[in-house]
Structures are given as C-alpha cells and as structure tokens.
Subunit: 163 residues, 6 copies
C-alpha cells in the first residue's frame, strides 16, 4: 500500500519535497458540469448569441482560478502554468440541460497539473451557478473528476468509464 504523501513523521501534513523531481512537460484534463433548468438554458443560449454571455465570465473565472490553485489548496505546489483551455458542451436530453465543462491545463514543471485542471473546472461551474442563481437556486453541479493526465514519473492516466 502506498503511503499518503502529505503526512510528515509527526503524523501531520506537510508540503512534500519535490526538489529532486524532474522538470517535464505535463498535462491534465478535468471535467465538471452544471445541470440547469430549461429557463436558464434558454437564457444562456440567447445571451451567447448576443455579446454578453455567462459562459465567457465563467471561463475567465476558471482560468484565473487555475493560477490561484496553489494558494487555495493547502499542500499543492506552486508551478508555472503554461496554458489553460476551457471548453463547453451542452448535453441536452428531454428536460435535462447539462453544461459539460472540460479544462485542459499544461505546465513544464516538476509536479503534475491535475489540481489546476480540477480547480478550474469547479470554479467555472460555481461561476455559472452564481450568475444564474437569481433565476433558480436548484441548479446542481455534477461530478468533477480527472479525465486524463500525461507526464511525470507516474506517466499517463486515462479514465476509461467516462467521456
């Protein structure tokens, strides 16, 4: 069994030592979503056609959150984020309107960018919630998880059962 990597010899949390880890090119792709009602879906779509839109604010929030990850997640290392890209896709079925949020993060660093991608995905979803909550507070942020990562000692990870 692997040990928890964040626990020190006194049994307390520490920021693990990555001084000797190699700088390699690393990527991570994370997914979140938000389920909204018909009215919100319609309104987001309509604004999207005009110049102001909920999704572009959410996207800026997600990108800025990616850069703040090591200030928000206590044991997370600071790393020089080299790229963040956020995509939106609607999954609409009968009376379900789910906005899929996919975030790809990249770095040249000595630790992975999984937390940056996941944090950006969560904050993007929370921002959609914030901007639409005057219409309905019942929105649900769906599952948030890692789709894929590359680079580093542990190599490539790919989630099989999703996408």
């Amino acid at each position: 069994m692997t040990d928890f990597s964040h626990i020190n010899e006194q049994g307390r949390a520490k920021m693990v030592d990555i001084t000797e880890k190699k700088v390699t090119s690393r990527t991570a792709v994370a997914r979140s979503s938000i389920i909204v009602n018909q009215e919100i879906y319609q309104k987001i779509m309509d604004h999207k056609i005009g110049k102001g839109d909920v999704l572009s604010v959410a996207q800026v929030a997600g990108i800025m959150a990616a850069k703040q990850t090591s200030n928000i997640i206590p044991m997370c290392h600071p790393l020089p984020l080299s790229g963040v890209n956020i995509h939106f896709d609607w999954n609409v079925e009968e009376d379900k309107h789910e906005l899929l949020i996919t975030v790809e993060a990249k770095t040249q660093g000595s630790t992975g960018v999984e937390m940056e991608a996941l944090t950006a995905a969560s904050i993007t979803a929370l921002t959609v919630y914030d901007m639409c909550k005057a219409v309905d507070k019942g929105m649900i942020i769906g599952s948030t998880y890692l789709l894929e990562k590359t680079g580093g000692k542990s190599g490539t990870y790919k989630r099989e059962d999703f996408r």
Copy 2:
C-alpha cells in the same frame, strides 16, 4: 421570466448594485462529497484516529476558501462572513465510500452567502482529492448543491429531494 441579474445595459456582465438592499442575518448550507476507494477510506480513517488527518487540512482549506469567495467568483460581492462550520459524514455501502461534506455559512450582510457555502464545499472536496491522489487518481467529487438558505428578500429556500 426573471432577468439575469448580472448583465448590464450593454449586454455585458456587471456586479449588481446592492447598495439599497437591507442588512439582515443570512445563512446558507451547501453540500458536496467525494467518493474514494476502500484503501483511501481506510487510510483516512486510520489517520483520523492518530493526530494527523486529511479531513482537518481539508476543513481549513474550505474555511479559508469561504473567505476568498468574492476574489474567486467574478460577480460575487464581498461580505463580512460571520461564521463557517464544516461537517463530515461517511456514507459507506458495500464497495462505495462517500465522504459527505456539509458547509454552513453565516453573515450579517446585504446579500446572501450561498456562494461562500458552495465554494467552501467544493474546495474542501478538492483538498481531499489533492491529499489522497498519490494513492488513486480515480476519486470522483460528487454533486455539489445548495441545501438551504435563509434571510434576505427572497427568504428561505429548502431543497426537498436531498439530504
């Protein structure tokens, strides 16, 4: 149909004017969760009995994130958070190990604390992910939503289908 409250007359986002809203006592309760495997569940439980534990780091992260909400969510108003409390409950069934995260936030302010409670819940879950990801990257952060809010012009909201 209610209008989106964050869009200005040029069709772009703005921070809505709450200057005239009354200062009242407000609360919000949000829920998130994280589904971990048997090995992680066991390790978290064991450390919990010792002095170091994943959950206390996650809890500190959630509380600090609640205070950063208006810096992370673009159109969210700064407000004087007067209390944050985070609870953990395990929902264990056969080979499913789900950690339920419940956040209660309070303020005396002129706008609600829903975003603070939701952001704290998400960041708490993300921190658990960060601290356990060396064991398994397949953890899934479950649905994140508002359970309840009180105070303000729109009054009390209670989610019926959950809890």
Copy 3:
C-alpha cells in the same frame, strides 16, 4: 493648506483612522481609455459580434480588480463594494481608434470609492492591452482620471473640463 492625510507623526505613511467617519452611500465614476490601431479595432469589433470578445474579458478583470483595490493600493481602506458597472464607447476619428472605459463604483461605507473606480478603469485598459499585444505593442493607455464622486463629508465632485 490641507495636510497629507497618510503621513503619521514620525513622518511615515499610515492608514488613516476613519473609525469615526459616517457610513453613507457613496459613488465614484472614473475614466480611462486605450488607443489601438485599425487592425486591432477591426478584430475587437468582429469578435464582439461573435461569442468571444476581448471586451468581456477586460470587463471581468476590471470588476475583479475593483474588489482587490485595498490589497493593491497600500493605504486604501477595505470597503464593502456594493456595485461596479463598466461601459465601453468607441471614439473613432480618421485613423484614431480610442476605446473609452467608464467605471461606476458604489458602496455603503465610511470612505469613498474613488480608488476602486480608478483601479478598475486602469486594469480594464491593461487587460485590453494584454489581449491585443500580439498584434501591436504600440497601443497607448490614455489619461485616467476621476469624472465624478458623490457622498461623504467632502460631498460631490464633478470634473468640468472632460466628458
């Protein structure tokens, strides 16, 4: 002659004591601008018609900067910003393309919101620069100044020679 209000009895800076100042409704309107070339003007206009646009990112940046003002400007008091609204207007003459940026900020507080409005205006202009600098680094951010303020002991201020 009025004394500088930020200097203490040792001749050094301090954050002035506003404990006894009254909480009143206050507003401030600030102006900045950015002068871009024909190519950038055209590209911003075209994207504005589509869904992604430079101006909506700049606007989010301006609003978030307004909330960070007391963390950026050393002697500035934290205050509960209650509203921020940013407008864009193009001033196009022959081969001059100037984007006028007007920010209105509001608070219920014991000190003014001039710095919040001015900071938001500057950061909005800087963000336009950042997003267009791959096309031309020669853009110039124009004069930045206070157009108007209301509320507080010093009352209303209105700039006469501009607008």
Copy 4:
C-alpha cells in the same frame, strides 16, 4: 475553564459564529522588535536621513499585512479595518541595537483587531530582516505580543509587565 472557541462538535476547527456579536469600536496595540548588529543599525540610520529607507518599506508591508490578516490566519474573521499606525523606536544599549515596532489597529466591527495588530508587527519585523539580510543573517526577531486592546464584550486588556 473556558473552551477553545474554534473547535466544532466533531472536534475540528471552525470559524466561530459572531453573527450576534455587537458592532463596537475596537482597538489593539501589538509589539514586536528586531535586534540587528551595529553595521545594520548604522546603515538603516543613514538611509533614514536620505530619501530611501528600510523602515518605510517595512511599514508599508506591515500595513498591507494587516489588511490580509483574515486571508493568512485560517480562523480569523474578515473585518473592516478602519486605521493602522506603526511606530518605530530604537532601543540602543552598548552593542545591542533593537528596533521596537509598535502597531495600533482599529475597527468598527463585531470582533477584535488583535490578530491584525500582531500580524502587522510580525510582517514589519520580517521585512526589516529581508531588506538587511545581505549584510547579516544573524538578526533576531524579538518577542511579539499584545500590549493592549479595547472594546468588545471582554473589554479592556492591558499588559502590565511590559512597555
């Protein structure tokens, strides 16, 4: 025996609920110091006479840190800081050169400003260290403690054995 006020019913940390506490005028005075060698003392004094000086940078750092206190100290409530003033006094005896740092913080709030005053004092001392460490890394930051507080339910506190 008083209970720790930051521990919730699950035995974990929480941000205590101050929703019902009264808004009153509150002050706190904290002290820190830094002991430097003869060479550093002389250099700080000389620069103080010129236009650039270590102490004015340290003072700005202390004031800005006071405003960041609730983002740095996990269970600390955000509060509307209404004034911060930092004084320096040299205590020079034979070959001891101690710079005394005294910080006074004020608020109109529902919780005290002790942490703001203490944090500002510590960061002021750390900044002096940073700016002089190229000359000598052996400087020692002296005791840091609360000298006095007023306001709030617990009333006035005055340290007897110091000053």
Copy 5:
C-alpha cells in the same frame, strides 16, 4: 494579419499555450505619469527631503503589483520575476507638474514581462493619486505605454516617438 492569440476554437478566451516556448532572458520598460497641481508637487518634494515620502510608498506598491500581475490580468502567465526597478523624474514646466514613472522588469522565462512593467507603472501612479487625493481630486494619470522590450521570439521592440 496575425490572429488574436487569446481566443480558442470556440471563440472564447484561453490562456495561450507557451509550453514549447524557450526560456530566455527578457526585459521590459514601461512608462506612466501623473500630473499634479503646484501644492501637491511642493508637498511631495518637501516630504521627500524628510524621512516619509509619497514616492517610496508608491514604489513599494508598484513592485508588489508587478508580482501580482498574473493574478490581476486574466490571460497573463505566471512568471518568475527576477528584478523590478522604478524611477521617478519630475517634468516641471510653468504650471504643469508631471511625475514621470519608469519601470524596468526582468525575468528568465518563456514569455515576456511587458504586462508586469505596465501594471507596476499604473499601480505606482494610482498610489500617488491615493496618497494625495485629500489635497486635490483633479490629478490626471498620463499616458501609459511600453517603451522597450528585449528577449523572446519577437525580439527587441523600441518605441521611437517617445522618451
């Protein structure tokens, strides 16, 4: 025509991928200014001779803002700033008193430091405004622009018509 580099394939903003860009030594010099009245000019000059001065607070603000640039400008990459230097020069003619602010920023990084230099210049000017606004709210922050940059694929840029 060069494409906007911050727009993704869905027409929305992204943080461009610089993973493959080379780490080189890069510099940028930016300029801003603030035009003050005779009274403020005199007061700043007088304090400059004494120990406390407006300019040293403004300078600290500018340097700290340079380090915050990637947190303030949404699509800006974090980079390891390796040096920041701010100069002040007075341009006094008849009844015009203009304080010229020149910022030089340096890095060893895979993207330029133009935004860091420009942001530091703007925040330095805004801080002068903040510290003197009790005397006169009519101050004007002058044009803000890039004077020069070196390093990176696009090489050296030098503004011809200014300086």
Copy 6:
C-alpha cells in the same frame, strides 16, 4: 561594508536583479516559538490526542504562508517552493510551556528560501495565538530567527548559539 541590496540609485527600494544568479538547490530552517500558560498547554495536548487539534490548523497556516511570502514581503522574489515541513516540540519547565516551531523550506531556485521559512514560522505561531486567545491573551511569541541555510553563492550558514 556590504551595501544594502534593496536600494536603487535614487536611494529607493527595488527588487534586486537576480536574472544572472544560478538555479541551485537551496534549503532554509527557521525557528519561532510561542509561550502559553498551563491551561492552554493542557488543552492543546488533549485535543491533539483527539481528532481536532490547534497544531494541525497552525501547520496548514504556516505552509500556506510560505507560499504567499513573495506577496507579503515587498522586495522578496517569487520562487518555486519545492517543499515545506513544520515540526513542533514542547519545551516544558516548571510553569513555562513553550511550543517550539521549526520550519524547513526547500527550492530549486535562483534565490534563497530564508524568508519563506521565517514567514511560515511566524504565521504558525500567530495562528496558535489566534486559536487560543479566548483562553488567555497574554501568550508571547518568542524569538524568531534563521537556524540554517544551504545553497546559493553565499553557501551554508549555521547559527551556533541556538538549537
């Protein structure tokens, strides 16, 4: 006599240019402490055995502060912190209860991590103060200093008279 390294040619502060300094492996160990009364000592000990404890919150605060150092200390360079570890030891004699705080920080960078270690030590102590101040406001944060550093041009430093 070495010159102060943070003063520019106008006699004002600057962030010194480290562009040409080599990236090497660097470490720093700092020490702080907090002296508490018998009652607080007992309570901290008791909670430590249970699941919630003051020290784990303080430790998270210290680690997060290490990452914020360059945003808090004005002339401090940002650097990629690669590890932080905090230890607690009780020094109990008769009626003196002193909690020793030892912080080790590491980086692969072009400047030292002394400020990160010292800042983390101070913030850890301040957090213990915050969490116990409802019991007694008379706690004293003890001396804070550098125990050791390695790496960089100035090589190894070791404090002889302490430890």
